[in-house]
């Protein structure tokens, strides 16, 4: 992927009707500590809000948290909206307990396949620590 300049800025929030925000809150702390600018949108965040915030802070990545199980449904279309908004090369990560059916949630390769299919760059299970998330983004941004 051709990478734009790196701004060390991320958007974090929980998508859809999902009210969980503790994971995002922990991520926010970790990314700030690692020197990132963070737009933390909390929970119950519509797709468009992620994009608006990304534009506002000139984000390198949108970190979508989805805990309540409808992540696959809620994330469909986000990549298209990014492209529409001119954020063609922004990194899209998703993480959490993203799939309601346990058959899927325990079949991580299939989850990753599905998210790649809808334009996400990475998907993280909820055993991912905040430090691991920071590390992954640094790697993808060529920061370390």
């Amino acid at each position: 992927m051709k990478r734009r300049h790196v701004n060390k800025a991320v958007v974090i929030g929980t998508i859809g009707a999902d009210a969980h925000m503790i994971g995002g809150w922990v991520l926010e702390k970790a990314f700030r500590e690692a020197g990132f600018t963070v737009a933390f949108l909390g929970a119950v965040v519509p797709q468009q809000e992620f994009i608006n915030a990304a534009i506002e802070i000139d984000a390198d990545a949108i970190l979508v948290s989805s805990m309540y199980g409808m992540g696959l449904l809620d994330c469909e279309g986000l990549r298209d909206k990014c492209i529409e908004a001119g954020l063609d090369d922004i990194l899209l990560y998703v993480g959490g307990t993203v799939a309601a059916p346990i058959e899927l949630e325990k079949n991580w390769p299939e989850i990753e396949r599905r998210f790649r299919e809808i334009g996400f760059d990475r998907a993280f299970p909820n055993t991912c620590t905040a430090e691991e998330a920071v590390q992954a983004l640094k790697t993808d941004l060529g920061l370390e």
Binding site: A17, A19, I22, M70, L73, A100, P101, I102, E105, K106
Partner: protein, 491 residues
């Protein structure tokens, strides 16, 4: 919101108007329950021998504990299959179900719920995190009612559960909740407390009407909140809600207290909560019967069977030793997805065997428990009385003022009206204490007590308390230990 809300019973006309204009039109299945008397008559028949309220009364009389597992799948077939499996494996007869609706339903997004049902059919898996009761409507809910041997209660908690509860009650389930702050803090983002209370006055009144017409309804009065709240705040939420429900005429309330994992503190919290619910409702002249339940740990769970079993066991033992009427159950699936039928059957078996093993063992009173109770009680009374003072005797007015001013406050919620200045932390015994009480009116002796307890942790860990510990505490029960490979190989 300009309309000023008070703790006052809805008139029959107002109730009927809201029902007709606001609630039933929310989705097309509302029209199947237009005739309330017909619904009540059907519910009476369908809940024969399966009443949540009466089952709890019976359990109390027999001196036994009920088990309350949780389940919900996108399709009716999956849901019924799961209920029957778990009932056969030990839930029946001394159990009660919590059935989840999905989160779209809870946000009244019935279009997406419909899409989720469709998608689930296509994929042959449950793509929703619960059973979309409103989309399926009353006849499907009755089908589930008939397929189960034990009382059913609905968990469709969020801003507005009125239509879901209407359908559930009309199907002979126990549908209603006594909610206000609980919902704002747990699941909401933008709704003002006044509006949430207005919505729930309707739901409470609905439950009361069923009760008055011969179908006793026992509402869930919960304080699951953010999953990480001080026991004083939890208790305050439940007691204040008990007054709101009681004013609407509710006669039975199931006090669903989120557990924090410290045996003495959790039991103290529940005892104080029940006592104050009784005292305050009586003080206002209401006559309500309260039952108690322990809601399992609502923080991050460990993603492995054995650790999850440790959680399941400890979360059942606290309610048993605390003599709560009911132990609510989570399952080994908690870290991954809503419970599977196999997972829930496993929890039921484990908890049932604990009941066998423990007989009628109870936690005795001790100096420690009396002190803990006294501290929680003092905190809660202070909050309650401050509300009543600020509200001129009206709890609703006082609560709203308290939230606005920030002296009613908790830590981690998506709800924008919460000030969030409070910070809690675990002490060495894993009890939840105030690291920073923010603006809540904590009596000095309570604050000193919390500080002393936190100092105990500082001493144990040999390092000063800091914010990093607050963050770590959020995952204290979910991180698995690293493998320790043998340092010396066998020869």
């Amino acid at each position: 919101m300009t309309q000023k809300i008070r703790n006052q019973r809805l008139s029959d006309e107002e109730f009927q108007r809201i029902r007709r204009e606001e609630v039933l039109p929310q989705w097309e299945t509302g029209k199947d329950i237009e005739d309330l008397d017909e619904c009540i008559a059907a519910a009476k028949e369908l809940s024969q021998g399966k009443s949540h309220a009466l089952k709890h009364q019976e359990a109390e009389d027999r001196g036994i504990h009920l088990l309350m597992p949780q389940f919900g799948r996108a399709l009716t077939e999956y849901t019924i299959e799961g209920l029957q499996h778990v009932e056969a494996e030990g839930l029946a007869p001394d159990g009660v179900w919590i059935i989840f609706s999905d989160s779209y339903t809870r946000k009244l997004d019935f279009e997406r719920a419909a899409a989720g049902i469709e998608r689930s059919r296509q994929e042959g898996m449950s793509m929703l995190n619960g059973w979309p009761i409103v989309n399926f409507g009353v006849e499907e809910a009755r089908r589930i009612r008939r397929a189960s041997q034990v009382p059913l209660t609905l968990n469709s908690t969020d801003e507005d559960g009125r239509l879901a509860s209407e359908i559930a009650l009309a199907a002979g389930w126990n549908g209603a909740n006594t909610r206000s702050l609980q919902e704002c803090v747990a699941h909401c983002k933008d709704i003002p407390l006044e509006e949430e209370i207005r919505i729930n006055q309707y739901e409470s009144r609905l439950a009361a009407i069923y009760t008055e017409k011969g179908v006793p309804i026992c509402t869930h009065n919960a304080c699951n909140l953010t999953g990480y709240d001080s026991p004083g705040y939890r208790s305050f939420v439940v007691v204040s809600q008990s007054l709101l429900g009681a004013e609407q005429g509710i006669k039975y309330q199931f006090l669903e207290n989120g557990l924090n994992m410290n045996l003495i503190q959790d039991i103290a919290m529940v005892r104080v909560t029940k006592r104050l619910c009784q005292e305050y409702t009586r003080r206002f002249g209401y006559d309500v019967k309260f039952f108690t339940g322990g809601y399992p740990f609502l923080g991050a769970w460990p993603p492995r069977l054995e650790e999850a079993n440790a959680m399941i066991a400890w979360n059942a033992i606290i309610p048993i030793l605390g003599d709560f009427t009911t132990a609510i159950l989570k399952s080994e699936d908690e870290a991954f997805a809503t419970p599977t039928k196999e997972g829930m059957a496993g929890s039921v078996r484990l908890a049932r065997h604990l009941l066998t093993l423990m007989g009628t063992q109870k936690m005795p009173e001790s100096e420690e428990s009396r002190l803990e109770e006294a501290m929680i009680e003092l905190e809660v009374r202070t909050l309650l009385d401050k509300c009543l003072e600020a509200g001129d005797g009206d709890m609703v007015v006082g609560m709203c003022k308290g939230v606005e001013a920030g002296w009613v406050d908790t830590m981690l919620t998506p709800w924008k009206y919460n000030k969030g200045k409070v910070m809690v932390m675990r002490d060495a015994e894993n009890a939840v204490r105030y690291f920073d009480p923010g603006d809540i009116p904590l009596p000095k002796e309570v604050l000193d007590y919390h500080r002393e307890k936190l100092a105990g942790r500082e001493k144990k860990e040999g390092r000063p308390l800091d914010f990093q510990m607050v963050v770590q505490d959020l995952q204290f029960a979910s991180i698995l230990p690293k493998r320790q490979p043998p340092s010396i190989q066998a020869e």
